[in-house]
Amino acid sequence: MQLEQAIVISQQPIQGGYSLLHLRSPGIASQVRPGQFVHIKIPRLEECVLRRPFSVFRADGDTLTILYKHVGRGTRGLKDTKLGETLSLIGPLGHGFPSPQKDCFPILVAGGYGMAALYLVAKQSPVKGIAFFGGRSAQDILCVPDFEALGWTVRVATEDGSLGQQGLVTALLDDWLERERTNETPEFFVCGPSGMLKAVASRAIARAWTAWTSVDNNMGCGVGACLTCVLKVKSGEDWTWARACKEGPVFNAADILWEEIE
């Protein structure tokens, strides 16, 4: 974890309200592990007192890439950054994904920009597995070629049917599990909206498979100090709070109290 002044190398709007931001950030880029995130101070946005968290999508040499969706004033401010401008980053933060187990078959499940948290998992996995990407429409299915280039299979579902199978990504996953799955035990790496996390978690838990879920809780400090980002996890018979920014964002699905998550 460090404070780093990163330099904007390039800004690349991609499809439908998403952009890639390439940053020179040698300290963080060399340290980051899959599923970790950076906490970014949006320049000029004086009236916003919080940073914004983004998964590290790619890390190549001294360069970090984040992939972000334009949702509000912070991400609008990120779009307004200029080439050569300096951004203050804290990172790498959080407890990311473990390495896929060698004797399991790794399955990535992503909703929308959730795939950004999974690229490094795919890259560092000893086994090439399969990735399921879901979104509202074709616009929300991002960077499939990047995953394919790593030798992974990618399957797509969109709610409006504009790309891949029509419907939820979990239905696509269910089909695959039923019809195409090999004998290997699946191990899931999941990132996306909480409804999707919940759905994948319930499938995995029911069959005693391991699922690693990355939660997208609102954050304050990003380093474990403010207790904004907490969620309920099991603690023996009882529950306790875990910090998404510190103990997470990746949790073993078996540990989360899913019934408490909206």
């Binding site: 404070l3 007192v49 940073r51 804290i90 609102n218 400090c221 403010c226």
Partner: protein
Amino acid sequence: MTPNLSTNIGGIQMKNPVMTASGTFGYGPEYAELVDLNQLGAIVVKGICLNETKGNQTPRTAEAASGLLNAIGLPGPGVAGFVREYMPFLRQYDVPVIVNIWGKTIEEYVEVAARFDSIPGVAGLEVNVSCPNIKEGSALFGTDLKMFERVVKAIRNATRLPLMPKLAPNVADIAEYARCAEACGADAISLINSFPAMSVNIETRRPMLANKTGGLSGPAIKPIALRLVWLAAQAVKIPVVGMGGIASAEDALEFLMVGARAVAVGTASFIHPDTALKVVRGIEQFLAEKNLATVADWVGAFDP
């Protein structure tokens, strides 16, 4: 000549007048990788009560214009948990540790204070009185002068540690509370706590915070805080620790100028974890530029 930044807050000797504000810096370890804790004037830890508590449901914070709304609800490990989990870590550093304490009854405040009295490495107690009194009805300790007096007196009798009640800002006459704290034997006072406030969502028709209301902090409240600190500093002789929206050395110098003998950096640490250290360096530089030998030469330099 490097100016002398050291200051003494009611018996707590500090290298410089900049502390962390309770609840915005965890218990120390959270920021230790980013910030050299030894360079802080003091560390004020997140509020501790007798037993482990879970705090409020989520969402617990929401952004507002130039501010942050929070209703964390004081989760924490309790006295024993805190002492076990964090004191060994904190004792490694050469920095005073001020424990922020709270309770739901006067008895609980007293008990917490008494327990810390014998804990090595605790430099002083800050008393958060912005909590409702569970036992004696809904009155708040911090906004009812009689209750405030009772709780401060009772704690005073229970501890020899430097005692610093932290005033609630939402009172009509802050000087009354400042004088009361002094009369009850407090060694210092700190202010302001975050300001009672609320945000709502018109789409869901629900409050933004699970707790409905919360406390507003950050730059938005700085002008409110500055006035209250000024009024409090005029009312008492004991040292005043000022806070509320401090994000730069200039901000801190404003609080010191109106009479605070130390300041605390809160919400600003979330955006720039090294704010407190930058504030220290900025104060030092400012004093040097103005040819002031000590920070005490600047405290109260206001010409109203």
